[in-house]
């Protein structure tokens, strides 16, 4: 029996996504990891199946589903056996495009959201800068009004899909004050003069997703590409981050579960000292602990998703779900690798990739420390 937040239709969707993942993604995982990316064609295939617009309105080519459909997609993408694939897709569906739906003009929705849902345009979200990571309000990329345009100058770092994105939602500073009051979002299209990919960055994990450093040098962006309200960008992005964090938590639980499943499978088969290594009490209990922690994380994600589905936006609980889920997922992956011994440390094992990939989730979308800061603040501390 499935969880109560999921209906029979969600389970059918899950089956559909799973088959897609088994057929179109998982067989190519090793190839894409080695190549450091996957073909754009994959986005078009996902789009053709409606998977890039599950919870988007039908009028923009979406499937009109509820929030839980996004959870289903995040969980099932773990089956791709390369965390970078899910990362790239989630950045597209749950980070770069939600602000366009929420704050965009109809013209922006037609130009960017509609093709993004079809998978014809790939998107990125550019927040982080060399000098502004966790401290979002320190953003320095300037956008200065010049007639019908804004001129952007600055750089962005660690941008998923950055190398190939057809457009990026970029957080800039439009008012000089060094804090949150002067930030503005722009949609910057690939090919805009002055907008370049400075570098493709090499990462510890998530090799199937490309990560870029972007540079804006006297980059003229039409005022029509200003997303949301001028100088309200900080609030827009804080709104966006909640969704990103909860989806990240859902994906992390699924990845942790996959690691645990691998550990149980390997531990049951692997025999040392005359018995399966999973049968040693030290290992059995650890496996039971990780299974329990993952179950708690899953319930936390689902309970929070229920609140989101019902119109709330509980910052405290989303932050709790994010920090807890990503931690227990990495801990499960770490123990799973340990249980695999030398085999787990070999690059040909699936667990080593999960271990590298889940590590990223404790940093991306807000570090453990930032999540704890948010929670502490919500507690009035």
């Amino acid at each position: 029996m499935g969880h109560y937040i999921f209906s029979d239709e969600h389970e059918q969707l899950r089956k559909s996504v799973r088959r897609f993942v088994e057929r179109e993604l998982a067989p190519y995982a090793d190839q894409w990891e080695a190549a450091g990316g996957f073909p754009d064609e994959v986005f078009r295939k996902l789009g053709a199946q409606g998977f890039l617009g599950l919870r988007y309105p039908e009028e923009y080519g979406g499937q009109g589903g509820d929030y839980y459909t996004a959870i289903v997609l995040a969980e099932e993408l773990v089956g791709a056996k390369a965390g970078g694939v899910g990362t790239a897709v989630e950045v597209h569906t749950e980070m770069a495009t939600p602000p366009i739906l929420k704050f965009g003009t109809d013209d922006q929705k037609q130009r960017f959201l509609v093709p993004a849902i079809k998978g014809e345009k790939i998107s990125a979200l550019a927040i982080t800068e060399p000098e502004a990571g966790s401290d979002v309000a320190a953003i320095r990329t300037m956008a200065v009004r010049d007639g019908d345009e804004y001129v952007l100058n600055g750089s962005k770092r660690f941008i998923t899909n950055g190398c190939r994105a057809d457009f990026a939602v970029v957080v800039t500073r439009t008012a000089k004050e060094e804090h949150w009051a002067g930030l503005t979002l722009f949609i910057v299209e690939k090919g805009t003069p002055g907008f370049t990919v400075a570098k493709k960055l090499e990462k510890v994990g998530l090799h199937s997703s490309d990560t870029a450093e972007l540079v804006f040098e006297d980059c003229h962006v039409p005022a029509a590409n200003l997303l949301g309200q001028e100088n309200q960008g900080f609030y827009h992005i804080m709104w966006e981050l909640q969704g990103e964090r909860l989806i990240g938590a859902a994906g992390a639980v699924a990845a942790g579960q996959r690691a645990l499943d691998l550990a149980i499978e390997y531990g049951t088969q692997r025999r040392q000292f005359g018995r399966s290594v999973a049968k040693f009490q030290a290992n059995r209990h650890r496996l039971a602990e990780h299974a329990t922690a993952l179950e708690a994380a899953r319930q936390m994600v689902y309970a929070t998703a229920w609140r989101v589905q019902n119109g709330e936006y509980p910052v405290k609980e989303i932050s709790m779900a994010k920090v807890f889920s990503t931690r227990v997922a990495f801990e499960a992956a770490d123990f799973a690798l340990q249980l695999h011994g030398g085999s787990g440390y070999m690059m040909e094992s699936e667990i080593q990739r999960l271990w590298r990939d889940t590590r990223a989730s404790r940093i991306a979308a807000g570090t453990d420390e930032i999540m704890l800061e948010v929670i502490a603040k919500e507690l009035g501390l």
Binding site: E9, Q12, F20, A48, Q49, G50, Q63, G64, G65
Partner: protein, 264 residues
């Protein structure tokens, strides 16, 4: 136009089949079911026909226990307009002959221009039902179709078949039965919107009485063949290890690959 698609609910090809000793059917415990992959080609072709021709009414038809509605539900999610489940406890022990007879009875009077089916079901691999349905309905059948074009105005269809070493192109007057072979198309998966819409579509259940079939035509009694025994063959590993100097074992290995494994 009206198109009927015959689908079978079969164990997932990834499932490890188990048979309890003495049983003549598989142990269904823990088995997940899918639409037989060749039937998916048939279903996809019906959807493509509708995309090409416009006004095409698609009915998915399955014979099986109540849980076979899952397969029909998937067809409805893919875009079938309605569905028929042929189901009756009396079908227990039916062979392909009985299945075809019952399906033909369900299709009779439906005025279908095309009846599409997979070339065979991947569980029992009888490759019988599509052809036998055509026989019971006195319709032409073209098997192993890899291309299908329908001329609505002329009331004809042209089908291509890839056979061993050659291909055929066959024209047939509709109505007719076609069985789908791999290569016909690339089946899509149900989209969320289709899944939601399928909730409101009807699945009619027809039992033996509704089909006008007598008890002695059904199940094991009506079957033309009888399963005598069913078992999972034990897979004895027949490894051969060659020992000795590489200079001696290499020619021996080549010989074995050529003569025993027949891979060279």
């Amino acid at each position: 136009m009206k198109v009927a698609v015959l689908v079978k609910h079969v164990p997932d090809t990834e499932t490890r089949i188990q048979v309890k000793p003495g049983d003549k059917k598989i142990n269904e415990e823990g088995v997940t079911y899918i639409i037989s992959p060749f039937d998916e080609f048939a279903m996809e072709e019906a959807l493509l026909l509708r995309e090409r021709l416009g006004d095409v009414q698609i009915t998915a038809v399955a014979l099986g226990p109540q849980k076979a509605t899952e397969a029909l539900r998937t067809c409805l999610a893919l875009g079938a307009d309605d569905a028929i489940l042929v189901s009756d406890p009396a079908f227990e022990g039916a062979d392909a002959y009985v299945t075809a007879k019952a399906l033909a009875a369900a299709l009779k009077g439906g005025n279908y221009d095309l009846i599409l089916a997979g070339k065979q079901a991947v569980d029992d691999d009888a490759a019988y039902v599509g052809t036998a349905v055509a026989e019971f309905l006195d319709l032409p059948v073209i098997n192993l179709v890899t291309k299908l074009e329908v001329n609505k105005a002329a009331g004809t269809a042209v089908a291509a078949r890839d056979l061993d070493g050659y291909s055929q192109v066959i024209e047939v007057k509709l109505p007719a039965v076609f069985t789908a072979q791999k290569g016909l198309n690339n089946p899509r998966l149900p989209a969320l919107m289709g899944i939601m819409k399928a909730k409101k579509k009807e699945i009619r259940t027809l039992n033996a009485q509704a089909l006008g079939l007598a008890p002695n035509e059904l199940g094991a009694e009506g079957a033309k063949v009888e399963v005598k025994e069913m078992f999972v063959p034990s897979k004895a590993r027949k490894n051969k290890v060659l020992t000795g100097a590489p200079a001696e074992t290499a020619p021996e290995l080549v010989k074995l690959l050529a003569e025993e494994a027949k891979v060279l």
